[in-house]
């Protein structure tokens, strides 16, 4: 049942998403074609427009991913989706997989596209062939630690966004919030966002685990994990004893993980026992 539900959700959005992915691929190809003309003003103007269009397409896919899930949970397709005799854990699992598929696919396409636009932009700006521009950018970004950190940030951000959206749609569609329509999930998302910001800040300041930034920036992107909280750094900064931050707290990763588990349980219980369609 999991694979059937997953395929159904993927196929349903694919009707629309395929056109956006096609448009994104098209903008990359047109961008490369224009870059090949090597006319600086023209290339920069058109590539900026294409890049904006490219990013808008990516954002549109994410928005459609969310609205389709809303339609299945509370909107016009909910009477079909909620009539399927599947366990709640299977339904939630399939929703999660559907979100992750489209989020990651879109992020990967966005990352590849932006990289191509950046390389072509660098090549035109510095009057270099593409392969030399690529090797310059590669030297800056393709360091193991940066790649690892970027991957971690992307995976973390995607997971956080997906769970937040599922939480907002599920909790924001039930009980008294139901009467607000789509406003319910938006309100829940906003309140959750504010609460998470406060929690993240507190965790960064007080949980004693941080990244120690390199003292000499010329040594490259070097960092190490230390068991110190960020609060003493901030105190020094505010009392003007220091004008730089050496530690960045990463305790929020643990608190966020706990919050994800709480949200997942909340989604499960609400979805199982408090469903109330319009």
């Amino acid at each position: 049942m999991f694979s059937k539900l997953y395929k159904y959700q993927i196929k349903e959005l694919w009707f629309i998403a395929r056109y956006f992915y096609l448009a994104m691929t098209g903008t990359i190809l047109i961008g490369l074609f224009i870059s090949e003309t090597r006319i600086p003003g023209v290339v920069q103007f058109f590539n900026t427009l294409l890049l904006i269009g490219f990013i808008i397409c990516g954002i549109a896919i994410i928005i459609f991913t969310i609205t389709h899930d809303y339609q299945n949970q509370q909107g016009k397709r909910s009477y079909f989706f909620r009539s399927i005799p599947a366990k709640e854990s299977v339904i939630i699992g399939s929703r999660l997989s559907y979100y992750l598929t489209y989020y990651f696919a879109t992020v990967i396409v966005l990352a590849i596209g932006i990289a191509i636009f950046t390389i072509s932009h660098t090549a035109i700006n510095m009057m270099l062939p593409f392969h030399i521009a690529f090797s310059i950018i590669k030297d800056i970004f393709f360091q193991t630690k940066i790649i690892g950190m970027l991957l971690f940030i992307i995976v973390y951000a995607v997971f956080h966004q997906v769970i937040s959206m599922m939480f907002a749609i599920t909790i924001g569609s039930h009980a008294r919030l139901k009467s607000l329509g789509i406003g319910g999930p938006i309100l829940v998302y906003f309140l959750h966002y504010v609460a998470m910001q406060i929690l993240t800040l507190i965790s960064m300041l007080f949980i004693p685990i941080s990244i120690k930034l390199p003292e000499n920036p010329d040594t490259g992107f070097e960092f190490r994990i230390v068991f110190e909280s960020m609060m003493p750094e901030m105190s020094k900064l505010f009392s003007a004893q220091s004008n730089e931050i050496k530690y960045i707290g990463i305790g929020f990763i643990f608190t966020t993980f706990i919050v994800w588990i709480i949200m997942a349980i909340w989604i499960y219980k609400c979805s199982k026992n408090k469903i109330s369609l319009n």
Binding site: F15, K274, I275, S276
Partner: protein, 230 residues
């Protein structure tokens, strides 16, 4: 054991009480008409029975189970609004149902599609409102379910099509099953229902077999409805 058993059911929408302390028992082997004016609580009651609304108080049992996963396996529900992706063709929707519901009878669905003169390759978005309703009816009735719950199944179709739909509903209905049909088109369904429930302000006003009620009041069910709710 009753197929549907309801004890002291209450359902509120804020301060508005849609269902007020309703108790009811329904057994298999009959078609039950659920009638009442707008806002009488028909759709609210059916949504609860279909496990689409769990925010209620009181006891509801479907074949001994609370509305949920177990009841979804045996209840075929038709809501009063479109509920399927409009981008799909009729044949794709039938395949979709066949994949999700183990009791779905694909052959029966295609036969009904033919009976309703619908094209399998036609997308839902290309169909009229009435054609879309026919597709939804055939999907609901093509399940070999134990309970059928139909909320306003014939409200959007022309009189000629209503007869075809009603005929197909009866043909596709197993004698061991229970069907609850909500409608305000009593004239059309009077001849197919075995018993009727008159609902008003979330409470049962009259309940009984259609034959008994006709005899008791000396009127047709439709005339009785008009007399009570005028």
């Amino acid at each position: 054991m009753s197929t549907i058993k309801i004890n002291n059911l209450c359902k509120n929408y804020g301060k508005l009480q849609a269902i007020n302390n309703l108790s009811l028992e329904l057994n298999s082997g009959q078609i039950v008409g659920l009638v009442g004016p707008n806002g009488s609580g028909k759709s609210s009651l059916l949504r609860i029975l279909g496990a689409f609304d769990m925010a209620y108080s009181g006891e509801v049992l479907i074949n001994g189970f609370k509305p949920g996963l177990e009841s979804r396996k045996i209840v075929s529900f038709l809501p009063d609004k479109p509920y399927i992706s409009e981008n799909l063709r009729a044949e794709q929707i039938i395949e979709l149902y066949d994949g999700f519901f183990s009791d779905f009878n694909k052959e029966k669905a295609f036969k009904m599609l033919e009976l309703f003169k619908l094209k399998p390759e036609q997308k839902l978005i290309e169909m009229s409102k009435g054609m879309g309703e026919k597709v939804q009816v055939l999907l609901t009735m093509s399940r070999d379910a134990e309970i059928f719950i139909l909320d306003e199944p014939i409200s959007g179709v022309d009189p000629a099509s209503r007869k075809i739909i009603l005929r197909s509903m009866i043909e596709g209905f197993s004698e061991d099953a229970l069907m609850v049909v909500s409608t305000h088109l009593l004239n059309d369904i009077e001849n197919i229902i075995d018993s009727v429930i008159f609902l008003d302000s979330g409470q049962i006003k009259i309940q009984g077999s259609t034959d008994d009620l006709r005899e008791q009041y000396g009127k047709s069910i439709n005339e009785l409805f008009e007399q009570i709710f005028q």
